[in-house]
């Protein structure tokens, strides 16, 4: 599928002297916007009331969006790699913004299916394309620090919710004066949520287009100052060869890493999904909890911070200690932390908070490190497309994690009466999952040479034989 010339990869090849530190903010401009997907809880109750519906029916909107994220990243990954980051960011912005506009129409007209179609399906496609859009570009601009580069961008996805939550509350309180975010129990009107959607659509359009128009790809022979590609060759787990996306999914390495990501994400979601009620249940004394609702909300905020920080800190650390060792930490230390949470978590609030926060930092770190791990195993050739296919693990974990936790808790009692012991079976299931992930990570070895692509195929794919005219057209 051809793209208009102003979006084409050939038009955005950077000239010598271009400063690569303009690329991370371009990536962040997209990820900070699509990260709003994690802030849907701020208007969930308002939508339940507006549509006279249920939490489950409204929660489906988010589930559709995450499933579409995984599917669209998998389906459009090759298109993204072929056409470059500007076309991908532009397409992502169009889908994401259209999702909000259609969703807003659905709220105004009280047509829930339009919200499913708009935010869920159309917006979800924008999520998937946007999530993978800057990854391979960042890896190419930062061959010396791929973990740092992808960590910065994927940190933005976590940061997006941090921005969207307070901003949404503020905007809804302007659109519905009877709604006061500081007063528990008040709910914004549906029209306030529709107005919020329109405002976010406008803001996100500006931000994402800014990212799309400042992003550049490096020339084929570009290297950062002082970077010696030979230093990469000396590391056994980092390839200098390239594997196509179609071949990557035929390798055991892809599916081992898919399982690693699935296990790590499922375990993290187990805590994230239940964070607020979980801390109250762990310190329940009879009918009441020693942890107040406001404190529980603070705990959720703390987890968001660790989720975001973990993406940057752990992914950057992986540049120094290696991708396989860092996943051994995520999964191995994660096992110990889950056991501590299950056995000692209810003895002191600080033990519960610290263990949960570190677990969530590993959850974020797992997301942010995986593109660099893929680069190490499969090369930069179609790393965006391979990443897109790997993200189906996220969609699967998004279903499995809540199913495991909610299934266990449903069998143990009713919400509001659960105690720490009721969470134990779910936590030990997570320990088992992390153990499976740990073993899979240990089994990952370099990809066999039969899957490597020829240099000609790589160059043909990315159109990296640019003519002088094409290059001079780029500013």
């Amino acid at each position: 599928m051809a793209v208009p010339s102003f979006l084409a990869r050939e038009r955005i090849v950077a000239r010598p002297g271009f400063n690569r530190w303009l690329i991370p903010p371009a990536a962040l401009a997209v990820h900070l916007c699509i990260g709003q997907a994690y802030a849907t809880s701020v208007y969930k109750t308002a939508l339940v009331s507006h549509f006279d519906s249920t939490l489950t029916a409204i929660g489906i909107i988010f589930s559709i969006a995450i499933v579409m994220l995984g599917l669209s990243a998998a389906v459009f990954g090759t298109w993204v790699d072929r056409n470059g980051p500007r076309a991908a960011m532009f397409a992502s912005a169009v889908f994401w913004v259209t999702g909000f506009l259609v969703g807003s129409l659905g709220i105004y007209t009280e047509q829930l299916w339009l919200l499913y179609l708009g935010y869920g399906v159309i917006g979800g496609i924008g999520l998937g394309i946007g999530y993978i859009s800057p990854v391979s570009t960042l890896i190419k601009w930062f061959p010396d620090r791929p973990g740092l580069a992808t960590g910065m961008a994927i940190m933005g996805f976590g940061g997006g919710a941090l921005i969207a939550s307070p901003l949404s509350r503020q905007l809804m309180s302007w659109y519905d004066p009877s709604y006061d975010p500081a007063v528990a129990g008040t709910t914004p009107s549906g029209n306030a949520v529709a107005g919020l959607f329109l405002t976010l659509a406008a803001l996100y359009a500006v931000f994402m287009m800014f990212g799309a128009f400042i992003v550049r790809v490096p020339a084929a022979d570009w290297r950062p100052d002082g970077f010696d590609p030979a230093s990469v060759k000396s590391k056994p787990m980092i390839t200098t060869e390239n594997v196509s996306a179609n071949n990557a999914i035929k390798t055991p390495q892809f599916w081992l890493l898919w399982t690693v990501l699935f296990c790590n994400v499922t375990a993290g979601i187990g805590i994230l999904e239940q964070a607020a009620p979980m801390i109250q249940d762990f310190f329940r004394n009879g009918e009441t909890s020693t942890v107040l609702a406001a404190t529980a909300a603070g705990f959720v905020g703390l987890l968001s911070l660790f989720n975001m920080a973990g993406r940057f800190v752990w992914s950057s650390t992986s540049d120094f200690i290696g991708r396989k060792p860092i996943y051994m930490v995520y999964l191995g230390v994660g096992i110990i932390l889950y056991v501590i949470l299950a056995t000692l978590g209810s003895t002191a609030t600080w033990i519960f908070v610290i263990t949960a926060a570190i677990i969530i930092s590993f959850y974020g770190g797992g997301f942010a490190t995986v593109p660099a791990y893929l680069r190490d195993l499969f090369g930069t050739y179609q790393v965006g497309a391979i990443h897109g296919r790997l993200l189906t693990a996220w969609a699967a974990a998004g279903i499995a994690g809540p199913l495991i936790v909610n299934g266990v808790l449903d069998s143990r009692g009713t919400p509001g009466q659960l105690v720490a012991g009721d969470y134990r079976p779910a936590l030990f299931i997570m320990v088992g999952l992390l153990a499976v992930g740990f073993v899979c990570n240990l089994l990952i070895k370099p990809v066999a040479s039969k899957w490597h692509e020829s240099r000609e195929a790589v160059e043909d794919f990315t159109h990296e034989h640019h003519t002088e005219e094409e290059r001079s057209a780029v500013r």
């Binding site: 950077a14 000239r15 010598p16 002297g17 271009f18 400063n19 690569r20 530190w21 303009l22 903010p25 371009a26 962040l28 401009a29 900070l32 933005g156 940061g159 919710a161 941090l162 921005i163 969207a164 939550s165 307070p166 901003l167 931000f207 800014f210 400042i214 020339a219 022979d221 570009w222 290297r223 950062p224 100052d225 406001a294 404190t295 909300a297 603070g298 705990f299 959720v300 905020g301 703390l302 968001s304 911070l305 908070v353 002088e468 290059r471 001079s472 500013r475």
Partner: protein, 47 residues
């Protein structure tokens, strides 16, 4: 910070102002989000 290239192309210079503006554009909203989240999280420590 960038680069050595062998192509016969006109070199470019990315204005520092543009880099600062781009980082500010993403940094300011992020700082706003961080501030609000830290404020919410402070309830956990009884602040």
């Amino acid at each position: 910070m960038s680069s050595s290239v062998s192509q016969n192309q006109q070199p470019t210079h990315t204005p520092v102002g543009l880099i600062a503006f781009a980082w500010a554009l993403v940094g300011v909203p992020l700082a706003y989000g961080l501030y609000n989240t830290v404020k919410a999280a402070s309830a956990l420590f009884g602040a």
